[in-house]
């Protein structure tokens, strides 16, 4: 889906957005419709129906359209789908059809074998995999960036020019810094979690190579039951996991004159340091602050436009997100933080809008908008827990298993910079498949 939302359409759904969010405070940031590149409305995600299939708390109850060999009423299944295919590579023409995934969301595919605690794969797995709801989705046109920019740099420079035209950027001193310090939590629904979106819709955001990689992941979660969640082996979580509900719990925000810092994490730590007023070095392939080395969580610069904090992150190490998709070293983001305040002017949450540019992975820029609810002041809350991930799960014949201390296992050392998750799938589960050859190192021969 390549259609972009144009401004008039955005304004037309503004009333829906405002109605879709509880409380007036959270709508404040979205009313800023005048900027060249921030605050434009996004169709409501809160309250969107769960696509399924799955059951339990992550799905807000049981959301299964049909299970154990049954087919939802009115649906004609495809002759072959992700649960019955022996070689998903041959099914490329079907990947954009929701029926190929039995109308499952990415989370629904993960839940088939019990990924979230309740198995729904049925009595004849994997062929008896459950169905999600074909009439539920969060469309791609809601997800792609509504802004006219082709690159993060272009976007950042436009926002900076807009700010300068108003006399900015705002130069805060230690005494008049924003009152944002505190503990926050991400409580708002996000399409990126894979709960309210069809798998085929998520795929439509991706380039052909990254579609292939995503379907490979979905196949080995739904069909072969070989999930390779990054943090289960204490691998890095990667930059894009910081938007995933299961990867971050409490967020600690510290605001200083020079750096605004977010730290969060569950299985690993996510550190975002926004360097205020600095510029990227532009003499290499990727804009950066430090040496020419990709960073797992990138490097970030930013500036203040009144109460809005505008940032640009670059120099990110490409990686993957389960239930999401892979992204490349070319990923860059523009992120805007704006405060939501109650009638008394007290900060209640921070609206976090992110526009993600990755020309290698995404067919066009995509967007996420969420509200970070303030839980308390740093002087009130429990100390932040820094995570050290202790590995207890090891891959055995391509599947994760919790291992007995003292056990001797056969272990293939993965190439951590060569899609280690895929190495296991390809070695243990794809020997019979006709995997398209990538462009190798030796194409000159």
């Amino acid at each position: 889906m390549k259609r972009k939302i144009r401004l008039p359409e955005s304004l037309a759904i503004l009333s829906l957005v405002l109605a879709g969010h509880a409380g007036g405070a959270s709508a404040l940031a979205q009313e800023e419709g005048k900027s060249v590149g921030r605050g434009w409305p996004m169709a409501p995600q809160e309250g969107q129906p769960v696509v399924g299939a799955g059951t339990g708390k992550p799905f807000r109850g049981e959301e299964i359209a049909a299970r154990n060999g049954a087919v939802p009423e009115g649906v004609t299944p495809l002759p072959i789908d992700i649960f019955t295919s022996k070689d998903f590579y041959k099914d490329r023409d079907l990947w954009t059809n929701p029926l190929y995934f039995r109308c499952n969301s990415p989370m629904g595919l993960e839940s088939q074998w019990g990924g979230y605690g309740s198995e729904i794969i049925g009595d004849n797995p994997p062929a008896s995999g459950a169905w999600g709801f074909c009439n539920r989705d969060y469309p791609a046109e809601n997800i792609v960036s509504p802004y006219p920019f082709k690159t993060a740099q272009e976007h950042y420079e436009a926002l900076l020019a807009e700010t300068k035209a108003k006399g900015g950027p705002t130069d805060y001193t230690d005494k008049d810094l924003a009152d944002w310090n505190g503990r926050y939590n991400d409580t708002s629904e996000n399409w990126y979690w894979g709960r309210i979106i069809q798998t085929s819709t998520a795929l439509s955001l991706l380039t052909p190579e990254y579609q292939k990689r995503a379907v490979q992941m979905h196949y080995h979660q739904a069909n072969t039951n070989a999930p390779q969640w990054q943090s289960q082996y204490c691998w890095p979580e990667g930059f894009m996991r910081r938007w995933h509900e299961a990867a971050v719990r409490d967020h600690q925000l510290l605001v200083t004159k020079d750096i605004v810092q977010w730290i969060a994490g569950v299985a690993d730590n996510f550190l975002t340091q926004i360097h205020i007023g600095r510029d990227f070095v532009q003499d290499g392939g990727t804009p950066r602050l430090g040496q020419d080395v990709p960073r797992w969580y990138g490097e970030t610069i930013g500036f203040w436009d009144g109460e809005a904090l505008i940032s640009w992150t670059s120099n990110i190490k490409g990686w993957t997100v389960h239930a999401g998709f892979e992204y490349s070293d070319k990923l860059q983001t523009i992120e805007i933080y704006t405060p939501n305040r109650n009638a008394e002017g007290k900060l209640t949450s921070i609206r976090h809008e992110a526009i993600l540019y990755d020309p290698e992975a995404f067919v066009q820029p995509i967007r996420m908008v969420r509200d970070m609810e303030k839980l308390g002041e740093l002087s009130e809350v429990e100390p932040y827990v820094f995570i050290e991930c202790i590995q207890t799960i090891y891959p055995v014949a391509g599947r994760p298993v919790q291992m007995t201390p003292g056990t001797t296992i056969e272990f293939t050392v993965p190439d951590m910079y060569g899609r280690p998750w895929a190495q296991m799938w390809e070695h243990y589960f794809e020997q019979h498949m006709e995997r398209p050859e990538g462009e190798g190192l030796f194409g000159f021969q």
Binding site: K57, E110, G115, G117, P227, A246, V385, Q402, T404
Partner: protein, 166 residues
């Protein structure tokens, strides 16, 4: 790709790790567990690992008479493990290193690993017997006067049982 054999010397005892009732912050898929089976144990804690992602308790199950622990063919105690939510989360339930020291007698239900290895993911509440007070034969800590309950739910009904000796 080369295959390297490595030895994972993960601890001194023949112990295993386990899992937890799925929380909103799981860091691994729970598809490794067989949720068609529920094992219920009463056993003696041998170690507790307060990992950030999942607190794990290692325990030696007691026999049906509740007189001694189960042992393997060479006489070593059989050790199972149960994984639950992150350490900070279960600390709010009173499941801590200090409250479940080695020697504590406890009862717990779990979905076991599909692989057959002795570990599982906690289901329901965790029940702690009073110190040095095992239950009556065939009973669990929830039937012992003075027990404490940790977390929500009762002990689940067993579905299947592991092979046990002793």
């Amino acid at each position: 790709m080369s295959i390297w054999k490595i030895v994972t010397a993960l601890g001194s005892a023949g112990l295993l790790s386990a899992s937890l009732a799925p929380s909103g912050n799981a860091h691994h898929s729970f598809a490794m567990f067989d949720d068609s089976k529920v094992y219920v144990f009463t056993g003696v804690v041998v170690r507790i690992n307060p990992d950030a992602n999942h607190l794990q308790i290692y325990f030696a199950p007691l026999n049906e008479e509740r007189k001694s622990v189960l042992r393997d063919d060479v006489g070593k105690p059989v050790v199972w493990a149960v994984e639950m939510a992150g350490s900070a989360e279960v600390a709010r339930e009173g499941v801590t290193v200090n409250n479940f020291k080695p020697g504590t007698i406890m009862s717990v239900g779990m979905h076991p690993l599909r692989s057959g290895q002795p570990a599982g993911d906690r289901q329901g509440g965790l029940f702690r017997c009073p110190d040095n007070t095992p239950p009556e034969p065939g009973k669990h800590c929830d039937a012992v006067g003075g027990h404490t309950t940790h977390g929500e739910g009762v002990l689940p009904e067993p579905k299947g049982a592991p092979e046990q000796k002793g």
